[in-house]
Symmetry: C2
Subunit: 371 residues, 2 copies
């Protein structure tokens, strides 16, 4: 007899396995207990998005390691367990943060319906998953498109478009799955606090080789190519597809670009060098490569001058104060913009290099667009 | 200083962790080596979709457990590691099979481009992710819609629709992510071997409580309600949305329903009891509950008679020969259909209760539809 998945696998695993553990276990007071059965492990740590350092879990006599954190602010958090140095997804939790490199578990600490990322009983948009062959990059790739509630491709109504970019190690689904961009927009639009808009979430790798080669002085050339090929693919491959397939405004005033981390570097690089195409630019915790590429910021934005203030409807930069390396980039960028005489909206807020910060930035940024 | 995700987390984990292991490691001869670092584990087994039983891995002196399988047939396989009884996702593999209960790792053993599920340089459809509140079930839920290459909501062309249902423990994304339904259809349509069609992939739980209550004699009532509420939600909530939002044929001749396992029971239950709405029905490895609900098959299909042969364009049933419990259901169903004088296409094929079987069934079934 062969192994049967589904019913039969469940039965088999149930026979093989000791009693199931519950994890994560969110208590009404927002304390959260994490549990991992690992009877023979010598050390288990819990790595929680936004926490200062991995926290030791404590082994019970039943071989289950436990840690209670909190009360935690209502939010979505990613986390993993470090079992004797190996980062594990919580085997008791089916909710997973996707990643091209290191998926993790997802924890939802529910909060009031008024929080931007909470699901509400309002009309919902649709997320479309598109595929194409990139001649610029030389691979097959995808992008996601959020269309707002009431969007009707058969109507004459056109919508402005926000291009929204993920960070390093994430994929094109990150903003909708982890960043909850669709939910945040649904809520805004229902309240009338943001213009109904289309959000395009492309894959952010101009050269996917960077996934194997983190940024360093030795990989600068690769990372510069990543930036430039990303721009070429976005402008020559993704934009035309979006224009052809969706009811979008085609002028720069109805086009924004924003992103996080690597995507925040890309949004500055693409947006400020292509003001013919974009009037609204957001940069959330910009990527450290921006500062360190050859020639520095001046070489990345050679044309930028105070005359561009007439065309920039919004240049919004934010970074967490507990995110030192990206904060340094944000401050350099601010200083550089001051030298060139470019107006911008700049903020430093509590938080680290996390999606908790970036969901709040989208919440701050989106209502400013297209009005 | 607080923990930074992205660059900084990677750096931190790199410091904390021993050298990375490569897993799964697909060799040119299609042998596949699985590796898990677990220095203090006492037993590690590897559970591979379609294999007879969990296979023991062997510990190396470096604390890395290893197992080489194969050569494996080109295909996609899910797998997990059982470390001292705990089912783990492979921490070295970012490719994950989603599940509402037990996600697993995904392995791709590449094969010739002619295989139905292999990505080809052909036009690709779009996968749309839709959300709604179900008044029938009382929850917020989702469904996915595949539109074929060239689909244009602004044109007058309408397409036939296949409703394609997942099995127990899976979610609405299973057919597109694991079953590769979009890729299979893209390939067919490019070759002209199947009618261009829309594929709707709804969430298959009429009562999500069944996720906590596997089928047993004690939960029969719950599972009957699951079946009936699924039908009501599909017909009263999903179908009208699809008709309103997509260019679909609205007659029964342009509507099919098929599914796997629990979804195969649902496709028979919905389809054969609603021949006004469906002319084409597929049942892949039908769920064991179908046989065991109160009153047996006769009570589930009270109206069915040989007069219905005029309306059934296709009734297709298949099951793997290494899938004994579902094979028993398939054979009961075949016998029941013979008693009622209903024509059908019936096959038993090699394989167990696996997605390897179901991708092949979609490959056999889809070209027969709508022609």
């Amino acid at each position: 007899m062969r192994l049967l998945l589904g019913f039969a696998l469940a039965a088999l695993v149930a026979r093989a396995a000791p009693p199931a553990v519950v994890s994560p276990d969110v208590q009404p007071g927002r304390e959260v207990t994490f549990r991992l059965r690992a009877p023979h492990a010598q050390q288990v740590l819990m790595v929680l998005e936004g926490s200062a350092r991995p926290a030791p879990m404590v082994r019970g006599t039943d071989g289950v390691w436990t840690l209670t954190e909190g009360p935690l602010d209502p939010d979505y958090y990613s986390y993993s367990f470090l079992e004797d140095g190996v980062a594990l997804i919580d085997p008791s939790n089916p909710s997973i943060k996707p990643s091209l490199v290191s998926p993790a578990s997802m924890l939802h600490v529910p909060g009031p319906r008024s929080l931007p990322w909470e699901w509400n009983d309002v009309p919902h948009g649709v997320i479309h998953h598109e595929f194409f062959h990139s001649n610029v990059v030389g691979d097959d790739r995808d992008f996601y498109v959020y269309t707002p509630p009431g969007y009707d491709p058969r109507s004459a109504r056109h919508y402005p478009v926000l291009y929204l970019l993920h960070g390093y190690t994430d994929g094109a689904s990150a903003w909708s799955v982890v960043g909850r961009a669709g939910v945040i927009l649904d809520n805004f639009i229902a309240r009338g606090d943001a213009e109904p808009m289309i959000v395009v979430m492309p894959l952010g790798y101009g050269d996917p080789e960077i996934l194997a080669e983190p940024f360093s002085p030795a990989t600068r050339g690769l990372w510069q190519r990543n930036l430039e090929q990303f721009r070429q693919s976005l402008l020559r491959e993704v934009l035309p597809r979006v224009i052809a397939q969706y009811q979008t405004g085609e002028d720069r005033e109805s086009r924004a670009i924003a992103g996080v981390s690597m995507g925040a570097a890309e949004s500055l690089y693409v947006g400020l060098n292509d003001l013919d195409d974009f009037a609204w630019i957001g940069s959330f915790s910009p990527g450290i490569e921006l500062n360190a590429l050859d020639g520095g910021l001046g070489a990345q934005f050679p044309q930028l001058s105070d005359e561009d203030n007439q065309r920039i409807r919004l240049l919004w930069i934010g970074c967490g104060t507990d995110d030192p390396s990206h904060l340094a980039v944000s401050r350099s960028m601010r200083e550089f913009l001051a030298q060139r005489g470019i107006r911008n909206t700049y903020q430093e807020t509590p938080g680290a290099h996390t999606w908790m910060v970036w969901r709040r930035y989208l919440d701050s940024f989106a209502p400013l667009l297209f009005r």
